[in-house]
Amino acid sequence: MAANSLRDEIPPGTLDMLILKTLARGDEMHGFAIADAILQRSTKVLQVEEGSLYPALQRMLVKGWIVGEWSRTEENRRARYYRLTASGRKHLGREIAGYRRVAQAISLILSPA
């Protein structure tokens, strides 16, 4: 539990982007795998409050950025697998571009002049 305090909360509004990016890397993943992947990829710096993943996934299902399908895990457990759609991929591109612009601007402000 002590490790938790070392992890940073995900900046607000970026969860969608992280999920989409995670899905963009591989093929289909279930919710747990997505949460774990975000954690692993960020070298365990970013902590998803795992439950908040699900409303985010539902929002993206509504928007049509991802689709979900029930199937079996390697351990033969039923799980819902999510996959990125074309419009999701497009949206991800936009999000990343936007994020880069903002990040660049912030770093410009923060950099010692």
């Binding site: 439950g51 699900y54 539902q58 299902l61 928007k63």
Partner: protein, 880 residues
């Protein structure tokens, strides 16, 4: 929101139970996987599970947030509200039944009327881009002739001109002709439209079966073809898909069926079949100077109807004889189809809307009273944490539920009405057989219910919104709103009811006047029989005249027959004769132009006695008034009065047409009264001419219809008349037979229908307004029980208490009636064109309507007043 998104939300809505299960399963799996992962990293089982749950967060919140993502939480809340509303309403069935019935009456009458508005006025005709179609005819500048056709030459010239019209066709200006027809073995009468050029192509009508007529069918000597209406296809051919190629005989001539016209295309009105001018009347109708056709044109994109009108006008000046006296009349296609019934349908619809308003206000009043009684409940709910807004929402939901049930009942009644409607609808109502409940009607019923719910739910909701609920628990029940607004509402209701009742009264009075109007001739025991005269057997006018004479002589000998004469036109057919202008001896062009247009009526010697038309001065005709003898005429009163004011018309001379027209002089030998032979509303100055002295030698208007005056009931004679006709010539049959009273009934069908509907709506308005007053007075008495008790304890007798209550009710009624009279003075003007012999502000009708409302209001105030006098002072003082 993209369509895909809406679709996904909808799917979700329908499967939200499954959604919840799936989400729960997903979360379980997630937690299980996390627990396993934790154990892999060395945690003991119990710690691993706890850590997993902690990492996940609040499951309930996650589930709610996930559902929120779909944006349908309000639906769940609504479901709860509705369930609660239903439970509450079930607890007071009396209130619920009355409220639902009241709303159902309102919604049903508006929806039923809207079905008519939609079906007749709004729904598109089966015509391509109907807004670009214009129908044209001509009228003369002095308005003697308001609907005169174009000549055939004007039609062809405009058609080939390719100016403002993209395409142009013609249609016989008489509308649909009645024609003797043989369908298979059956002999019947069909109504036929005669079209010229590419009529259906111009309108862009698509065939239901086969093909429609085009310009290639409008060729003299071409194969005889026709198309049939959807109605005829259903009734005479049982919707046979193999009807194409079958033969149908009109006037004894065979035509081959090439197509079926789609449902709802009724132009000319009432047409069963359509064929072309060239096939039907090849010779004289196609004479370039023969006035024959109304024009039907599709206006070119970029051109305006005004351009088209200008073009037509210049063609008239060039091509129509005497062009300068004519000007074109242009109507939109929709106007031609439904124009003359639009006003009455809209008036009836407006009356139905008023009924809905009255019904909603009544239910609103009921809800207010109920809301007042439920204040304690609201206060408790509010004290338990329901926000005031939540309570208001609950109230609105209740009125929505009431309106929804009422709306459902209303829609069912409307569906029934649509089936019954065509049976009562007058034949003049276009598209009446074509009414149906479609999306627009359902949307209307839905909107009407919604509006009703808001109207009736608003007042109680506002009352609760404003009320200080925390006071209620302390102070006990209090009335929801000041009764001031309820009083205003009742005054308004009575005013509106008076408006509708006065309107209905006016229509009823004019119907009564109309059905007892003096026709000018005797209408009792008069029968009209139209024989078929086979044109192949009786070719020349002379031959037709001879066979008709033989029929007349034979029928005259039948027992029970008092008189027989042959007439050229059926009464009530709007063409009592042929419209003609005339000039009197000594009149110049200008004086002649001011003469009225005459109905030219060819009459036999027995005409006047058989028709019961008295000769006021001079004489009627005799056998001596034949070809070759001096030309004589009988004129009607109006002609005599106009032409020779203050002089004896006998012996004066007139001619047909303008003064310079080469018609010989006719001497006036008699004067007859005006008649309404052409139509109830059509008093026409008439000119009677001996049928043996026709204006042209070919005698176009040989009278062929037998008018038979009988001793007793006219229709019982029919079998013997049929037999007698068959005896003269088996090839001659009876095409149609109708008594004068039947023809009058047909003429009265439309005013009767309008009046009947408005009377029903007026009755509903009256009942609703009076019920509203009764409700207000009832509440008034209940709230004043204590006051009444004190009054009676102090010695007031029952009479004075009851007079007091009645007077208060009547004050409202008087205020309402006063406002209503004002409204009626303005509103009934809309009815002007539907009235006959009575002014829109007829004082007698208005007085009767006012009296009716006041009497009803008296009853509605008296009942609560009687209750007030039964108050026991002791009980009343202990009350509360």
């Amino acid at each position: 929101m993209s369509p895909g998104e809406i679709w996904r939300r909808l799917i979700f809505l329908l499967r939200r139970e499954r959604f919840r299960e799936e989400l729960e399963e997903e979360i379980r799996i997630h937690q299980a996987l996390r627990t396993e992962a934790n154990r892999h990293s060395g945690m003991p089982l119990a710690t691993a599970a706890v850590a997993s749950r902690r990492a996940f967060g609040n499951v309930g919140a996650v589930e709610d947030a996930s559902q929120d993502a779909w944006g349908i939480r309000w639906i769940e809340a609504l479901r709860q509200d509705v369930r609660y509303a239903l439970r509450t309403l079930r607890k007071s069935p009396g209130f619920t039944i009355i409220a639902v019935l009241t709303l159902a009456v309102g919604i049903a009458s508006t929806t039923a009327m809207f079905t008519v508005v939609n079906g007749v006025l709004l729904r598109k005709l089966p015509v391509r881009e109907q807004d670009r179609v214009a129908v044209m005819w001509i009228e003369d500048r002095s308005s003697h002739f308001t609907h005169w056709p174009f000549t055939y030459g004007a039609f062809t010239s405009l058609r080939d001109n390719h100016g403002a019209f993209q395409s142009l066709a013609g249609i016989d200006h008489n509308g649909a002709w009645s024609m003797p027809a043989e369908v298979g073995d059956a002999t019947t009468t069909l109504r036929g439209g005669i079209v010229a050029g590419d009529f259906f192509g111009v309108l862009g009508v698509r065939p239901l079966l086969g093909r429609l007529l085009n310009a290639n069918d409008d060729v003299v000597g071409g194969p005889r073809v026709l198309v049939i209406s959807y109605g005829l296809w259903r009734s005479a051919f049982a919707a046979d898909p193999h009807v194409l190629g079958k033969t149908l005989r009109l006037h004894g001539v065979g035509y081959s069926i090439v197509g079926v016209v789609p449902q709802g295309f009724e132009y000319p009105r009432g047409a069963d079949v359509w064929t072309t001018l060239a096939l039907m009347v090849p010779d004289w109708e196609r004479n370039p100077t023969q006035p024959t056709l109304d024009l039907v044109g599709r206006i070119r994109a970029g051109a305006t109807p005004a351009d088209a009108l200008g073009e037509v006008n210049s063609a008239i000046q060039r091509l129509v004889p005497n062009g300068q006296v004519w000007r074109p009349v242009q109507r939109s296609f929709t106007d031609v189809i439904v124009g003359d019934v639009r006003r009455e349908i809209l008036i009836l619809f407006a009356a139905a809307l008023l009924v809905l308003l009255l019904a909603s206000v009544n239910v609103g009043g009921l809800l207010l009273v109920r809301g007042g009684a439920r204040m304690r409940e609201f206060a408790i709910r509010s004290a338990l944490g329901a926000g005031q807004a939540r309570v208001v929402r609950q109230l609105l939901t209740e009125s929505l539920v009431l309106a929804a049930v009422g709306g459902l009942a209303g829609a069912l009644v409307a569906a029934w009405a649509v089936n019954v409607f065509p049976k009562f609808a007058p034949p003049e109502l276009p598209r009446a057989n074509d009414l149906r409940i479609d999306g627009a009607v359902l949307a209307f019923a839905f909107t009407a219910s919604l509006v009703a719910a808001v109207v009736c739910g608003l007042a109680p909701a506002l009352g609760v919104w404003r009320a200080d609920l925390s006071q209620v628990l302390r102070a006990g029940t209090q009335p929801l709103a000041t009764s001031f607004w309820r009083r205003v509402a009742v005054v308004g209701q009575i005013a509106l009811a008076l408006l509708v009742v006065a309107g209905a009264g006016l229509l009823t009075r004019s119907l009564l006047l109309l059905s007892h109007v003096d026709m000018g001739f005797a209408t009792d025991r008069l029968l009209f029989v139209r024989p078929t005269i086979p044109p192949t057997k009786y070719v020349s006018p002379q031959q037709v005249r001879e066979i008709v004479d033989r029929l007349v002589l034979r029928v005259r000998t039948l027992p029970g027959v008092v008189g027989v004469t042959a007439v050229a036109h059926l009464p009530m057919s709007l063409t009592g004769g042929i419209d003609m202008t005339y000039s009197a001896e000594g009149q110049d062009r200008r004086a002649a132009d001011a003469n009225p247009v005459l109905s030219y009526i060819p009459a036999q010697p027995e005409y006047f006695t058989t028709m019961g038309l008295p000769i006021r001065r001079g004489r009627g005709f005799s056998q001596q008034d034949r070809a070759g003898s001096p030309l004589v005429v009988v004129v009607s009163d109006a002609v005599a009065r106009h032409t020779w004011p203050g002089q004896d018309p006998i012996g004066k001379r007139i001619k047909l047409g303008p003064p310079d027209f080469p018609d010989p002089w006719h001497t006036v030998v008699g004067v007859a009264p005006e008649t309404r032979y052409a139509g109830l509303l059509n008093v026409r100055p008439s000119l009677y001419v001996p049928d043996m002295q026709p204006p042209s030698p070919d005698g176009v208007w040989v009278p062929t219809i037998l008018a038979i005056r009988s001793r007793s009931t006219e229709l019982t004679l029919l079998p013997s008349i049929r037999a007698a006709i068959k005896e003269i010539d088996p090839d001659v049959t009876v095409l149609s037979a109708a008594s004068m009273n039947e023809l009058l009934g047909g003429e009265l069908a439309r005013p009767r229908f309008n009046t009947g509907l408005l009377d029903v709506l007026a009755t509903l308005s009256l009942v609703l307004a009076v019920t509203g007053l009764y409700g207000v007075m009832g509440t008034h008495v209940t709230q004043r029980t204590r006051e009444m008790g004190i009054r009676m304890a102090l010695g007031a007798d029952a009479g004075s208490v009851s007079r007091h209550v009645v007077w208060q009710g009547m004050q409202l009624a008087l205020a309402g009636v006063a406002a209503g009279i004002g409204a009626a003075l303005v509103g009934t003007r809309l009815l002007r064109s539907l009235l006959f012999g009575v002014s829109p502000v007829d004082p007698l009708t208005l007085a009767l309507a006012t009296l009716l409302l006041l009497l009803a209001a008296l009853g509605a105030s008296y009942l609560p007043a009687r209750r007030a006098t039964r108050v026991d002072p002791m009980v009343a003082l202990r009350y509360e």
